[in-house]
Structure formats: C-alpha cells, structure tokens
Symmetry: C2
Subunit: 335 residues, 2 copies
Amino acid sequence: MATPLGPGAEFDLIRRFLADADAGQHPDVRVGPGDDCAVIIGDGIAITVDMTVEDVHFRRAWLEPEEIGYHAAAGAISDLAAMAARPVGILASVALGPGDEAGVGPAVMRGVVAAARDAGAVLLGGDLTRSPGPLVIDIVAAGDAPRPVLRSGARPGDEVWVTGALGGAAAAVAAWLDGREPSALARTAFARPTPRVREARWLAERGVPTAMVDLSDGIAGDAGHIAAASGVGLVIRAHALPVAAGAASAPDAVRLAAAGGEDYELCFTASPGSVTGAPGEAEATGAGGLAVAFEAEFGVSLTRVGEVVEGSGVEVLDEAGGPLSLRGFQHWGHP
Amino acid sequence: MATPLGPGAEFDLIRRFLADADAGQHPDVRVGPGDDCAVIIGDGIAITVDMTVEDVHFRRAWLEPEEIGYHAAAGAISDLAAMAARPVGILASVALGPGDEAGVGPAVMRGVVAAARDAGAVLLGGDLTRSPGPLVIDIVAAGDAPRPVLRSGARPGDEVWVTGALGGAAAAVAAWLDGREPSALARTAFARPTPRVREARWLAERGVPTAMVDLSDGIAGDAGHIAAASGVGLVIRAHALPVAAGAASAPDAVRLAAAGGEDYELCFTASPGSVTGAPGEAEATGAGGLAVAFEAEFGVSLTRVGEVVEGSGVEVLDEAGGPLSLRGFQHWGHP
C-alpha cells in the first residue's frame, strides 16, 4: 500500500520502518505512506499532535527503545480517545540522535507502530531527520470523529468520572527520579499505557459524556481544561480517586493519583444519574447502570470523583474537605 | 473560535500564541484549537508533517525567529501543494530551548502563523514542550484533497516541468556555511519560501500533472520519488534548469539548481504537448499553451527540464549529455 520512495539514506531507513508496518492498510485511507501527504476520508477528521523529547519526557535509561515509541504514540492516540474519535492513522516525525540510525530508530518505530495497531490505526507516514542531541518523537494521530465529544459541554450539577486507575505512570517516574526501579505495574503504566479508544466510543455512543479530556498531565490540571472550556468549576475529591495498583504503596499515593501525569485515562462529566442510573433504578432493573456494563465490557472501572459546580477552575479536596496541597507536582515534563 | 484552556505555564504560552492567530477561523474547521483534537471536514483530508531541527536544518545565526517559523511551516504546506490540496489548517509542535519561552518562542509562532495565513490556512493547535538543547519545530499541515495528484502517474514519454527557479535557498545555505552573508534574494528564498499552493491547484484543475512532487531535497533527489512511485526513469537536463537569481552568480549555480534543497517549487510530469499545446497549436490559437496563461496568472515561470523514459531512477545530464557530478550534494540536513 506504501508508494515506493526514491534512493537515499533517509529513505532507506523509512523503507525499513514501513516494511513491517502493514502501512496504510485501512479502509479509510485513500493515499497511504510514501507520497507527499497521506489522504484519509471520514465525516469529520480529528487531528492531534504530541511531542516527546528525551530528557524532558523520558530518559533513555528508563525505557527500551520500543517502549519509548509506544509511550509516545499512545499519548497522541489518547487525544483521539478524548474526543471519542475512531483512530485511522498516525504519522511519526522522529529526530534521531547520533548513532540511533541502526538500532534505536527502528526499535522506536516498532513501538510506534505497535501502539497504532493496538488502537486500530496504521502508519501513514512521517518525517525522519537527525538530531544534534535529544531523541525527539512527534506523533500525529488522525481519526474519524463525526460527533466529537468536546471539553465545553459540562454543566453545573454534572458528575465527574474517570476510567481506570490513576498515578501508576507517575509512580514509575517518581521511582526513577529517586534512583529506584519502579514496580512492574508502575513501569508498565508508564511504558505501555492503553489509550481508552474503545471505552470512549462506547460511552459516547450511549450519550454519556457531556465533556471529556484524557489525563495526560494529571486530573488536577486536565480537569481545568473542562472547567475553562465549559465556563464552570470542577470539584474533585482526592480520596475518591481510584489509585493505580502501581502507586498504591507510595506514601504520596493520593497526590500521585491527583497530579501525576501520563495515565491516559479519561475524565468526563455526565448528567446526574446517567452513569449509575437514577436513584432506585439500578435496584429496579438489576442492571446497576452503565458503570456495571462498562466494567463487564472492558474490565476497566468507572469511578465518580467529583462534581461540576458554578464558578471556575478546579478544587481538589482532601479527606477533610480542605484543599489538597499539590506543591511540587506542577507538570511540564519531569526530568 | 479557540476553546479556552486551563491554567499553567505551558497553557499561558499557548494562549499567547493563539491570541493573534485568527485561530481556527476557517469554514472547513469544525473544532478549532484548545480541545483535545482539531476536527476538519473535507472530501479526502491530506495530512503531512515536516520536522525542522536547529543545527540540522538551520542555525540561529542565519535567521530571525519569525523566519525560522515561516521556513518550517512553508516546508509542510509545500507538501499539500505537491498533491494539489487546498490548505485548511496547521498544527505546530515546538520544543523550546532554554530561555526561548519569552522572545524566541512567540516570534517563531508568529512566523508559523504567517506562513499558514499566506497559504489560506489557520492555526488548529499543536504541542509545546521544553527542549534540553535544539529548537525543534514540527509542522502538521492538513488540507482538502478530493482529487490528489500522486507521485505514481508518470508515463514514459511524459515531459518533466518545474515551476519558478531553483537553487536560491541552497545558495543562501552555501554562503552561510562558507562564512559569507548570502545575497538578499538567496536569503529570502531560504527564509520565506512560497509554497506553490495556488499554482498546483490551477495546474490540477486543468488536468496537467500526471505526477507531482515538491522540491524539498533538490530535483535530483525528489524526481527519484516520481521515478520510484511511477516505475519509470526520469532524465533531467541540468542546463535546462531555471537557475534562481539568488544562485545565478555562484560558480556552481547549475549544481545548486539540480541538487540544492528547500526551494519548494513543484516538479511535475505532463503528457507531451499538454503544457505548451500540440506542435503548431500555439501558433494557431495565439495562446502559447498553458505555460503562458500560467505565467500571466502567477508571475511564475514553467520550464521544461526533462523527460520520462522507460527504466528507473533519475539521470541528471550535463551540457555535453554526460552524467552531472553531484558529489557532495547529498541532502540530509546541511550544517
């Protein structure tokens, strides 16, 4: 499906990347990799881009090259999930540091392609260049979003929910920064996160989310985007947050769950009762609402963690109802 | 049109970038910047990405920050032109080096937005992060391409044409690498190239190009993509190449035109006589074929520079009909 490229060292590497990628094999791809652009079709194409920089977002000592690629691509694909888009393809811009052409570059690309494949997307192209220093991976993800779920639909009275569990990826980073090896669970949460692509579409098909984001920077920060876009306030109860198994033993587990980034779970708002059913309804139907069906379908929990209120911004409350201190947890890359 | 973002230093910078960008104001944009993804509509969406790395593709001493941004964005938009796509929007991933947040970053983004605006596109989003060293700018360009012109349609007997003139950008780079200040013409060719967006659509609407690429790496290399994709050979006559005014005085002007990159002109193949009219036709109609109309419309020349033949690869011939030596002109970044 890939268009053959002309000669040159750059294109030899690209050929190698494309060889085992099932490149461009997707019904919504009209032009696959190897031309000047890829062309995809759909009724509203969602596009996002997510840049990962060595020694800002990760260190080489932490991850295998394939994991570096997987982590980078999953972050971009998660943005598609946040809109309930159906992933179609990704493009990967990669700047390779000195000596990376032979082993590291192809391995990074294998991880990128694996993350795409796990989300139902194919490799559509990209760009390849040298870097004078850091490895840089910028992933473009594109998908079909006929009815995107926006950040702007939250209304006072709505409930705030999250998928899965939080703090696992941050626990791994905290361990590495502390000179310790993270637990296997925490490590996997960081190295191979699972964008909630199918979960988001399941929820959106049932009209559940009034607004949605993915948790790349931690719920304390990312919920602020829903608040700002919707013109509302969000109150998050820190002790209601589902703490990931990989973070549970950490002394600051609740803070890791509240402010740790890169879990790539979803945070969404929903009309009162729309997830659990109206009061008494669950008992009447025996269904327990959509949360039970969701967990049965995906093996992923849904947890109510707060409310939408009149006002602005995000308040994260501790167990006593006071503001949780998140000093030192501001996120703009870790190392 | 931009969705408001939550608090944070990264988002303060993004807000500043979006403020003067007419962000998202385009009829084909369904969701503009500030949400998890942008969403655009069209009958086939062309997507491309082009990464520019400090000290690989440019040096800071060469360009003003706005020019760095303009150059980076023009390179990506030129890929849309190569498919005769209509630009809709761009996303900009930028990794800022130490100290770049205040002055350099916003200036780079002004250049990016200017290039987008000049091509009829709007800023749709992006990503912003730190870099431990080099400034990195990765530009995603997206546009509507209901009938994309591919690289794969060239047939033996077709003519090879280029728009505009070649070698200007390479002359600037050669001067800088040589410790000289380039001429104003050469400098502008590198710093503010003009992607041939309207020219490409004009040609495609008239059914002229059988295959097309943009000249980012030099025609000697880029023509190889048409050859490989189409399963043909291309013969380029170096002394027929239109040499840019900024390169004309260089001792190796013909080599700069043949192998110098980043002119962002178009190279396309066309059925015999389709550009100039069949033999005698120009005289009969007084029209001089499409080339005259093209030059009248755009003030940009069309020059026939070679032929498509049976075989494979690209042969660049010198004045005597032997192979032109392009040793030392292999392109994978310059500095």
